[in-house]
Amino acid sequence: MEKSRDVVVIGGGVIGTATAYYLAKSGLKVTLIEKGDLAAGASGSCDGETCSLDHAPGFDAGLANMSRGLYQRLVHELMFDIEYRQYGMLVLIESEKERDFMLDRLEKHMRNGLPGRYVEADELYRREPLLGPGLLGALESPVDGAVQPMNVCIAFTKTARERYGLEVRLHETVTDIKLEKGRVASVVTEKGEISTAAVVNCAGAWAPFIGEMVGIDIPIKPRKGQLVVVEPTAPLLSTHCFEAFYIVNKFHPELANDPNSIQEKYGIAFSHEPTASGTTLIGGSRAFKGYDTSSDIDVVQAILNRAKRFIPALEKLHVIRTYSGLRPYCEDHISIISPVSEVPGYYINAGAEGDGVGIAPVAGLLMSQLIQGHEPIVDPAPLSWDRFKGRNHG
């Protein structure tokens, strides 16, 4: 048995590294174990948006907004550039149905204290002349933006390791979690056994496997999302943009125009992120394909066909890469950030689906507070494990 650690964090993505960072910063002896390298799963194959307006108004959007505030502070705390850019965000609106829906949501967001406004078509086209014709307007959040997710993982671990003594063990697979009298006692890897009273499952789409080790059934499954990288250019659009259909489809699929459309078939919705290095990330898709992460030409074509409607000039450029990642989909679209009451010492921080990058700081901080019994930064009840109690999620 190796030396005892206060907490073992499993997973080296944005959620795991954020959790390890805040725990180590509080003075605990923390070990982070990752079976691959940092950002090996969804955190290394996503975009970097840190937006609030695409979340459900209220608690969920508040979580994202709070996280954005923490990112602003982390820019100064961390020892590695996370490429935080607060360039605003536009939700592009095509139809009156979408506009009514989005205006209703904007009102709810604003009642919850989030800044936002409706941008009429003439202003929209003045600001973004490369947008395709026929849009009615856009919803704007002036405070949203993006980070570089891989850099976030590196920055959290590097800073926690050098300042707060975090132990980072990469390319090491957890094979078992041992209990004593029903409580977490140690974490077993292929290289040894670490004695600990607390373990945090931050394994994203792989969280169910870490759940099985203590006999719990975590209702998370991998949802595949693909993106396309376009060659470096001057920015096509000045901010992060996505189409209102993305939100309509995510929360109210019954409002979608044609359930048999290509968009529906592949879960396609246009998104655009200008990166710090000059490339443009064009998204995206959502589909349940198990743990397959191969690039699918049909989906790439569908993504680009959809993107042409919003940025016609795109057809003059080149695709340099396509990639896909597994978003940890939780059946009620909200993370599990919680102790597991039936296994004392076992915690889960996973299931943010496509919002992991956006909520990582608050997810990490909250997890650290829950483990130490500190006053939590937000009410943890909506994120609790107990919400699944009594349900059969086989």
Binding site: V300, Q301, L304, H318, I320, R321
Partner: protein
């Protein structure tokens, strides 16, 4: 013919060619040796020669015919040949030496008096040569022509030289050579060596990534952006593998290769903007 097998002729093949001048013409002074064997559409040698000593004619894929009697050995055709297949030879110089002229497009250039390793058609060093002239004028279209004297019997063997650092070959009476010898070239600093050109990642950045825990190409990539640019690692991936294997003491095949993702090379967005049935 050996040229068909190896891609270069052997000495006997060159000497037995009908283009090789007669012993009488050889005795008169400078002449060129045309080692052109591929019937490609090309005739700058014909057009540059103002004495009509080289004929290609029609069709343009004809191999050149050399009329040595009309040639004054000016050497213009050496620089102008895109295939760098023409050489100058002069035999029976003072002291029994011979002269060979060849095109040369590398830097640094030698200087008159340098003693350099002379190489044959395969690049093997076969003797020492002395640089006699370095022609660099604009009319040569960026191709320099080097005249080098070599021992007797070597003018038909030597076709280029190996020349790396000036200080290695410089005569001691040459001032610049002495300076160079006294101040050997500084070792390049890792922070000055670019490994990934697209993202301007230096060797030092790669070392830092390895110190931070990177054990494979992807590990270096996520920490430095090396390989994320326009060429997607086509230039730097092998370099990074080499650096990793040196630093980690692993053979390159033990390293985990980077994820291969389509497209293999940058592809026009337009070509992908089609309906699923293939129509635009």
């Amino acid at each position: 013919m050996p040229v068909d097998i190896n891609g270069y002729p052997d000495v006997e093949e060159v000497l037995s060619s009908s283009n090789y001048p007669s012993p009488e013409r050889q005795a008169e002074g400078k002449y060129v040796v045309i080692e052109c064997y591929q019937e490609i559409p090309c005739n700058p040698c014909e057009t540059v020669c103002n004495r009509n000593a080289i004929k290609v004619g029609d069709p343009i894929t004809n191999l050149p015919v050399y009329i040595a009697e009309s040639c004054n050995g000016c050497g213009l055709c050496i620089a102008v040949c895109p295939g760098q297949a023409i050489f100058l030879v002069e035999k029976n110089l003072e002291g029994g030496r011979e002269l060979v002229g060849f095109p040369y497009e590398y830097l640094p250039l030698p200087e008159k008096g340098d003693m350099v390793p002379a190489v044959n058609r395969t690049g093997e060093v076969v003797c020492e040569g002395r640089i006699e002239r370095v022609l660099t004028h604009k009319g040569l279209d960026m191709t320099n022509v080097i005249y080098m004297s070599v021992p007797e019997g070597m003018a038909d063997v030597v076709r280029s030289m190996r020349y790396r650092k000036k200080a290695d070959y410089r005569h001691v009476e040459n001032t610049r050579a002495r300076e160079a010898a006294e101040n050997p070239a500084e070792e390049e600093k890792p922070e000055d060596v670019i490994v990934c050109r697209c993202e301007e990642v230096t060797l030092q950045d790669v070392y830092d990534a390895i110190d931070d825990g990177a054990v494979d190409v992807r590990g270096v990539k996520i920490r430095t952006r090396a390989g994320m640019g326009l060429c997607q690692g086509k230039s730097c991936e092998k370099q990074i593998q080499k650096i990793l294997s040196q630093k980690l003491g692993l053979s390159p095949e033990k390293l985990v290769p980077d994820n291969k993702r389509p497209p293999v090379r940058a592809i026009g967005v337009k070509s992908l903007m089609r309906n699923q049935d293939g129509k635009e």
